[in-house]
């Protein structure tokens, strides 16, 4: 058969086709076989690689999808937390404001009490100082008078001691000593 085909092919003009659309039969056969061979080889050698690449791609896409889903979950969780935190901040702010109000009220009350106490202390200290100063002034005045008197008395006495007085004092001394036993 092959020989007949070869002889037939040899007898025909290779530059002229038998059909305007279809190729030559042999060409179809060879082309078909070659295609089958190529497809077979591709299936055998490139198939697993392609299959593996597809599986890897699928896995990667799945992973990305999973990551996206996880990110979405995390984001939703974060958003929930943020929303919750916002709520907490409002509560905390209210609590802090309330505490600040209480503290301020306590501080004002304490301040009033302390100021009242300090004023009372200052008044009592001022009163004590005044009393002490008055006492000191009296003492100083007394000391001053005593000093002046002690300075003045000898001069006054000296001026008033006449000879007659001196004689009288001598006589009084003699009389008192003589009468002492």
């Amino acid at each position: 058969m092959i020989g007949r085909i070869v002889s037939q092919l040899a007898s025909e003009d290779p530059t002229v086709t038998h059909n305007w659309l279809l190729p030559e039969t042999a060409e179809i056969i060879y082309g078909g076989l070659s295609s089958l061979l190529v497809f077979g080889l591709l299936y055998k050698f490139a198939g697993p690689v392609a299959k593996k690449a597809m599986a890897a791609r699928t896995e990667r896409i799945q992973k990305e999808l999973d990551g996206a889903a996880q990110a979405r979950t995390v984001s939703e969780s974060d958003a929930a937390e943020i929303r919750k935190a916002l709520g907490d901040i409002d509560t905390e702010r209210s609590r802090l404001l309330a505490e600040a109000d209480v503290d301020a009220a306590a501080l004002i009350a304490d301040g009033r009490v302390r100021i009242a106490s300090e004023i009372a202390d200052l008044e009592s200290k001022a009163t004590a100082d005044l009393t002490a100063a008055r006492g000191r002034g009296t003492e100083e005045l007394r000391a001053e008078i005593a000093l002046l008197a002690s300075l003045a008395v000898p001069s006054v006495v000296q001026a008033t001691l006449t000879d007659q007085t001196k004689q009288e004092l001598i006589e009084a001394f003699i009389a008192s000593v003589g009468a002492s036993r």
């Binding site: 001691l161 000879d163 004092l169 001598i170 001394f173 003699i174 000593v177 003589g178």
Partner: protein
């Protein structure tokens, strides 16, 4: 100077005055001289100044006592000053006075007064002090204007003080 030295000088002066026969007068004059020496800073510093020659210091004594005290008194003071014992003059004189009083069995009564006492007051005061102390006293009167008025008598350790000065001091301390 030691006590023995002072006593030796006092004994010597006493014996000289006794030999001269005017111990009472000399004793009184020496006593007054001693009190003047104690109270007068200028006199004391002049008579104890070692830079002044002893002849000059004796000359001062002569000028000071000449005509006011008897010769014996002047010579005795001059003797002490000339021997360089001016600083001990009051102690020597006090010892002499004590010895003289002791010879007469008398206790020295030092009386300070602002003015001189009359003879009558002198006698009456001596009698009064004899009564008050129970001892026969030899009265030595020192005129001391600082007492201002009244008298202060010292007989041994006993002091009878009724001076204006003391009363003023008491008044001052009370004030």
């Amino acid at each position: 100077m030691s006590n023995a030295g002072i006593e030796a000088y006092a004994r010597a002066l006493f014996e000289i005055a006794q030999a001269e026969g005017n111990i009472d007068v000399v004793e009184n004059e020496l006593f007054r001289m001693a009190r003047a020496f104690e109270s007068n800073e200028q006199l004391r510093s002049t008579l104890t100044d070692a830079t002044i020659p002893s002849e000059r210091r004796q000359g001062i004594i002569d000028q000071l006592l000449g005509g006011k005290a008897c010769n014996t008194t002047t010579q005795l003071v001059s003797l002490v000053v000339g021997s360089g014992r001016s600083r001990e003059l009051p102690a020597i004189i006090d010892m002499l006075v004590k010895r003289a009083s002791s010879e007469k069995k008398l206790e020295v009564a030092e009386v300070r007064s602002a003015v001189e006492l009359t003879d009558d007051q002198h006698k009456r005061l001596a009698a009064a002090l004899t009564i008050a102390t129970g001892k026969q006293v030899s009265l030595k009167v020192v005129v001391d204007p600082t007492v201002m008025g009244g008298l202060v008598a010292t007989v041994g350790d006993e002091v009878i003080d009724d001076t204006v000065r003391t009363r003023l001091e008491q008044l001052k301390s009370r004030i």
